[in-house]
Symmetry: C2
Subunit: 307 residues, 2 copies
């Protein structure tokens, strides 16, 4: 299988890939698997009953990565995919997902990715997901990721979720259950512009003793875009949770942030903080006295904020 | 009119009153007004169409107070009251509301107080409301206050809302609109014990330029009690809002806190923070090394926290 120039461009944007990577890989394009490769420790197989794949990472697999990006290059396509991922005990792996939409026409192109991920005892997973929309058409680019995560005892999951450009509408849902000693860190970076809308809902249940979760959300709403954040942590055991939402609004951007924390155990420790405001004027002025134009200064600040 | 010993006890608890106070006053007992007194600047009159009173504070009234406590001393009573309060321009007054229920029997006693308050241009109002439940009966004590507040230009309202004991169920709703240059500060103190349940919803809309709002909520959930907090600030103008919710849980107490901030204007600045946890162990140990028993130490910490 060869990738065309557009595929390569999208893959570079969403997965930092310049070609088909070594290691386990599954590339889905316009509703079809166009490349699939398992390795000794990582098996990727198509689902029999519905669209999507199963990824099995064998126990004790270390320092390996799985790439499974999704590309949409047609206008008027709705692609729904169900992926089931199991990270074997004591493994330490990186998953690179992500979806790039290049919409060349006037119809809506939509990808709904439903992921079920189980990180087994003592395993560590880093999950990187970038979302991007492009293409010269006026058709909407819609991305609705749903991730259901179970962290077994003493497992660790770090999730980096990023959407920086071109996605007209997104409803992002992440549900997680963290068992005894498990640790979940979710970092979300979101930028919306134009008339885009983004909704992010995160629900984390700290179920076992010593479980912990941290949600760090940074977002920028430019022009007429709107964002809604609803992260929630529920503690049902002696556990710790922390939610931070920092947002910058520009022009007519609107952001609503309502993190919820619920303590259902006397030894739970939960905190959250949130702030919404415009770019700090002193920071802007400082950069401009260094010779940057206002636009350049804004760009530098936003890049730093969303890094 | 004379007050009996029980009335006096309730009045002392909810309004720091030892007798009928000087100044404007309205005392409501078991669904009836038992004492009403207007002053030159403050007029209190009964509503014609429904249960409740109108309180008019004349413009430029300064350093005056209005007491309008409610007492329930019967079991099986449901008292619904509608009060309309208008604070005249450039006034500076204190309102002392509050409700005490002494339930001697096995039936539910309930007070629903619906207040509409308008603080006119340049006026300042301090509003103090204490809620208390007592009595030897097993009947429920229920208090559902609803306050709808409009702060006109450059007015200031400080609200101190306290419920420290004996209220089995409460749904507290506070809705406010803050116009240009207005300032609202709401301080809520809540302690629940036994099987009590408390829900507090605050919705503040910052409508005018330079408006500001601060919500400071401190709460303790002991034993099997449950609390839900939903404070929200919506900024529709260049304005500032801040929400802080600090909660202590003990035994099987459960608290859910979900402050929401929504910026609908590019010059809005909104922040919130919340924390739920148990009493700091080091603080407890320190007090115990000073000779206090554990119970005494807990009591000292909670009193400080809820002060």
């Amino acid at each position: 299988m060869t990738l065309d120039a557009l595929d390569r461009e999208l893959l570079k944007t969403i997965a930092d890939l310049h070609d088909i990577p070594s290691g386990a890989v599954n590339i889905r394009k316009d509703g079809q698997g166009i490349e699939r490769k398992s390795t000794k420790n990582i098996t990727i197989e198509p689902k029999q009953d519905k669209s999507g794949i199963n990824i099995y990472v064998a126990p004790n697999t270390r320092n390996e990565a799985v790439h499974f990006p999704v590309l949409l290059t047609l206008s008027g396509i709705t692609d729904v995919v169900y992926n089931t991922i199991e990270i074997g005990e004591n493994s330490d792996v990186i998953l690179i997902a992500g979806c790039g939409i290049h919409n060349p026409g006037s119809k809506k192109s939509q990808h709904d990715g439903i992921h079920e991920i189980r990180v087994k005892k003592g395993a560590k997973m880093k999950y990187i997901e970038k979302h991007f929309g492009g293409g010269e058409g006026k058709g909407e680019r819609v991305l609705n990721p749903k991730t259901v995560l179970v962290l077994e005892e003493n497992s660790i999951a770090e999730m980096e979720l990023t959407q920086l450009k071109g996605v007209d509408s997104t409803v992002r849902v992440t549900d997680a259950i963290v068992k005894k000693g498990g640790k979940l860190v979710i970092t979300e970076r979101l930028l919306t512009h134009g008339d885009q809308e983004a909704i992010s809902k995160i629900n984390i249940i700290l179920e076992g003793e010593g479980a912990s979760a941290e949600v760090i959300s940074r977002s920028v709403a430019k022009e007429n875009s709107k964002q809604i954040f609803k992260p929630e942590i529920i503690a049902r055991a002696k556990s710790r949770g922390h939610v931070v939402c920092d947002s910058i609004i520009m022009e007519n951007g609107k952001i609503s942030s309502s993190p919820a924390i619920s303590a259902e155990h006397p030894d739970a420790e939960l905190t959250h903080e949130a702030a919404i405001g415009k770019i700090a004027q002193d920071q802007l002025l400082k950069l401009m006295t260094l010779g940057l134009s206002e636009d350049e200064a804004v760009d530098v600040i936003l890049r730093g904020f969303l890094k």
